[in-house]
Symmetry: C2
Subunit: 683 residues, 2 copies
Amino acid sequence: MSAISALWNADSIAVVGATERPGALGRKPMDFLLRHGYKGRILPINPRGGEILGVPAYASLKEAPGPIDLALIMVGADRVAGAVDDCVEADIPLAIIASSGFAETGADGAALQDEIVARARAGGLRLIGPNCIGAVSFNNRVLATFSPLFGAESVPFEPGTLGFVSQSGALGFGAASLALQRGLRPGWVVSTGNDADVTALEVLRELAQEPECQGLLGYLEDVPDLDTLRALSASGKPVALLKSGRTEAGGRAAASHTGALATDDRVLDAALHQLGIARVDDIDELLDAAAAFEVPLRPKGPRVAVVTTSGGSGILAADAIEDSGLQLSRLSPQSIAALTEIVPPFGAVDNPVDITATVLSDPTLFDRSLDVLLADDSVDIIIACFCVMAGPDVQKAVTALSKAARKGGKPILVARTGADFLAPDAPAMLRDAQLPDYPTPARALKAAAALWQVSRPRPDTHRDAVTAPLPAPAPQATEPQLKQLLATAGITVPKGRTARDADDAAALVRELGGRAVLKAVVPGLLHKSEAGGVRVGVTEQQAPAAFADLAALGGEVLVEELAPDGIEALVGVRTSPLGTVLTVGLGGIFTEVLDDVAHRVLPLPDGEAERMISELRAAALLRGARGTAELDTAALADLLYRLSDAIRDWPGEFELDLNPVRVLPHGAIVLDSAFSAADTPAH
Amino acid sequence: MSAISALWNADSIAVVGATERPGALGRKPMDFLLRHGYKGRILPINPRGGEILGVPAYASLKEAPGPIDLALIMVGADRVAGAVDDCVEADIPLAIIASSGFAETGADGAALQDEIVARARAGGLRLIGPNCIGAVSFNNRVLATFSPLFGAESVPFEPGTLGFVSQSGALGFGAASLALQRGLRPGWVVSTGNDADVTALEVLRELAQEPECQGLLGYLEDVPDLDTLRALSASGKPVALLKSGRTEAGGRAAASHTGALATDDRVLDAALHQLGIARVDDIDELLDAAAAFEVPLRPKGPRVAVVTTSGGSGILAADAIEDSGLQLSRLSPQSIAALTEIVPPFGAVDNPVDITATVLSDPTLFDRSLDVLLADDSVDIIIACFCVMAGPDVQKAVTALSKAARKGGKPILVARTGADFLAPDAPAMLRDAQLPDYPTPARALKAAAALWQVSRPRPDTHRDAVTAPLPAPAPQATEPQLKQLLATAGITVPKGRTARDADDAAALVRELGGRAVLKAVVPGLLHKSEAGGVRVGVTEQQAPAAFADLAALGGEVLVEELAPDGIEALVGVRTSPLGTVLTVGLGGIFTEVLDDVAHRVLPLPDGEAERMISELRAAALLRGARGTAELDTAALADLLYRLSDAIRDWPGEFELDLNPVRVLPHGAIVLDSAFSAADTPAH
């Protein structure tokens, strides 16, 4: 048993700072553990000793009888270090530091936080928090928390299969209360606050090992760690993450709140997509995904069939399918024929299938059309929409849907656009039938998209290398040096070399076909073009003068062949907190302005370079838009694979830009390149 | 009183097809009118006469005592035409045709629908429907509907201020039930089905005239009519529209459902934006906007301040502000200083203002910080976030918020991420305090964005013309003819003219500076460049041969000056169901591939051309990205105004493309132009 799993497996819990005083935070965990029937030993720690709510209290952890699996520390920030020492001495494997007053308050608090983490690590104690609201297991009735949620009179408290971990305690338990309200079954809710030692992601990874856990939800403010993300993904459990601080404004707010570092949010998007983890943008979406995760069926593809009692819902569903990146199934001719027999003439048999309000008089319309869709191999996911039906009509519809759901094989999600007062039993009936339900088609479809994201076959990360790893360049490597290195990896660079003198430059131009490019090679000269350091189309006659001009900039002069016409791409690799990131964009200056780029965290699995390129909106240009020639997409993909393999062993932090790469009708050629390593300024 | 307003003002309602048979649809309106206390006369029409639910019935409309303000027709499709005739004869101004079996079933049904509309129009009768579920006024207790909603035992039935009109009856009443569930107050719900005569938009326009109406919501499948949209906008009432069929998949589904025509959805976006009508993408968003509309306060700008008890909610709010196009306020130094006195040290005083869970022990934190934000001129909208607070804590928070809200002046929206069971009184308390509440910050912010969209100062549509209207070109006008026309409007075109012969071409090249462009002018030759019909940089020497080549294509040869370097834009005007649309994009081939264009429905108000250009992602290129020269944005804007004025009186359907227009460091010049008019194929 890992230390972290004490959050839900603890057989004994010490509450440091426990009190009987009404209204005090230190009373709440005692109240909750007693009220909700925790079966293990409760050890309140209070200098006064005696009894707290009838439970014997101890003046200190030292005096409390061991073994203690979990300590919940609720004392003032100034007394936390002492409590941590006491935990170490008492051989406790895990402590939750609920107390505030650490990194979230500024530099002094951050130092204090570092101090307690150091003491804990030295003593083999893992810490959750500080600045958190604690943890609860609905399954084992461990309530190491002071969240007001568990004091609410009518809080549902039943075993569940969803694990939810949140850096923000208030938001986490708030979202958990909304989950309970809509009939979801959280099994574990953990808040991790400042993530000083154990991170939210580590708790998720640990929860993924629990056999009862069927789905994981996370609210994160810090950039997650790639290795932990990989382990979480490898667990095979469906995971949805809400990572805040996505935008510039949000990132600034996050930094002021937790000191979380901003990263390029799109790199995180790319990493999560690669790992088959769903990313959501709001609490609603997180819970909507959770409702789909609770049902163990997984789709085999992204093709959605819609069956609806209202044409309007069908259209909204079709819009949402396109928005969410899923596909509206093309039903088989057999299905269309079968549906024509079932659906009334004023309905629609093509997807979305509109069975109309006639379902009110004939509820078998629902199960008969669902049978057709369940049998159609071009359908992976089914969305059933109905509106405003009341009382017995809803019961009939749900019975029909359940009948289809029981046949299994394909996830069925329900968009029921109607108030609960129309059919108070409907939510429970749908839940019992394992039919997740949503108030609108769009929300059902977003959940379906999350479900497909966690169910997609993961790309095999192995790929045979196309080129051997290269040594890293020197931090101040020049353009010719970089190009030579790239050529070693089989990446095409222009023919040419640095010229010895003006005559040599002219001779080189002749050799290269009578017109060439001359470029100044001056270490530290960024923005060569803007500095007048590039001359394109120089003739043999013009070469000596051009050489003199460029040499005057203080470095060498590179003479290169003119590249044929094509389209300019940018390709880059850089290290990031999420691993080494490969980036590709198309369209020269437009790439930057229009931000049309694709990212991947390396290594690059087979087929992934082609997928990156096809994701670009500008990819149409490669296929020969507007009568221009078709360009060599395969050569650009090959360049991406070669680059990924070549840089594999480069140490430290670095950034290598190939910009522009010109994609030609045959081949792709690197026209310029720049490198910077840690401690050299990025350009 | 207009005919349409009988939907809510009728003093007498005939129910054609009324019956006492339990379960029959024809019984429902009778049940509802009696149950909910309609004060006017109810006139059931049934061939058997007698009494229905104790109300005297009449064998036909002819026998029923007039005047009758509204007829609800619920007979089979084959009997509708007769019922329409009877309404005309009985001098009834408005009939709701609930019956299905019309345009939604195919060609025969469409013919029948045309027939009843023609009969009604000839007789001065307006029609709602067919294929609809009817209408309800919560204020006057007019229930001309068979929606099961009004049979539900616990349906709330109180006066309200929101008008909701939906083409889809099921979706409309389903959404209305969700509105009631969350405590919103719909005053009118109307379903208009096939919109054969009166459209959903006309009903909205009519509702906008009701003094009690404070906000309007619409669900539309058909493309709305621009004049009615303008009238709706001119009413000054806040309007949110959900228009389905936005996407390709949705558009196809809509066409199969109602035969609604697809249009460029982004033109509708542009039109709604110009008219200050909020567009939403889901039923949730529609109701979220409605909750904000119910409170009569309007923001004076888009700058949002967030006050939160949870750092996490603050970050999510900041993300959502950026997503929704609102702005995170920069608080004044005075506000920051004042907040520093109020907010605990581990909170945050910069926006988002994090007052932390300390608010539990000191609820005045809420009202004191709100006072600061209410007084800060850099704040237009306030979002108050809290999570998971329970019972008395929520009451205290809401009391503090109400205190601030009562001071008024700025809309305050609440994001309360916590279940209702934590504080069952909270929804009613917030409603009474006129504080719309939402389960997540993102949803509150989307509602705030809708609120700002309907509150923005509308651009003054008057602008002094910069050029006189021009006559329309001939349908097959050639490039030189079009350029001449454009020049008349003060739009810059290249110097040059068609050459008489090879010698003339050479002479022209010399006149134009020694290098020029030669272009084939061949009526019907589309894609000139691809056909080899354009030569750029032709010298005097090369001119005769180039002339011969181009003349061989079968038309004239245009010789034009070479334009200086710049960036290529495309500018177009075309007629559409929503009016004449002006389009601008930047970046030549990239414009199309990346779809980076801005649309406006003409006329173009003052300043709007500049706003269109600044909306383009590629606008950065005009400002001189990456060391390139700054380009003449003002000249491009001037071209847009001139073009708008020039084409003002052109009749019929047409499309005029100026593509490319080259934007120069000084000026903007039309390099090519093409025109097509109705019945000539678009290119």
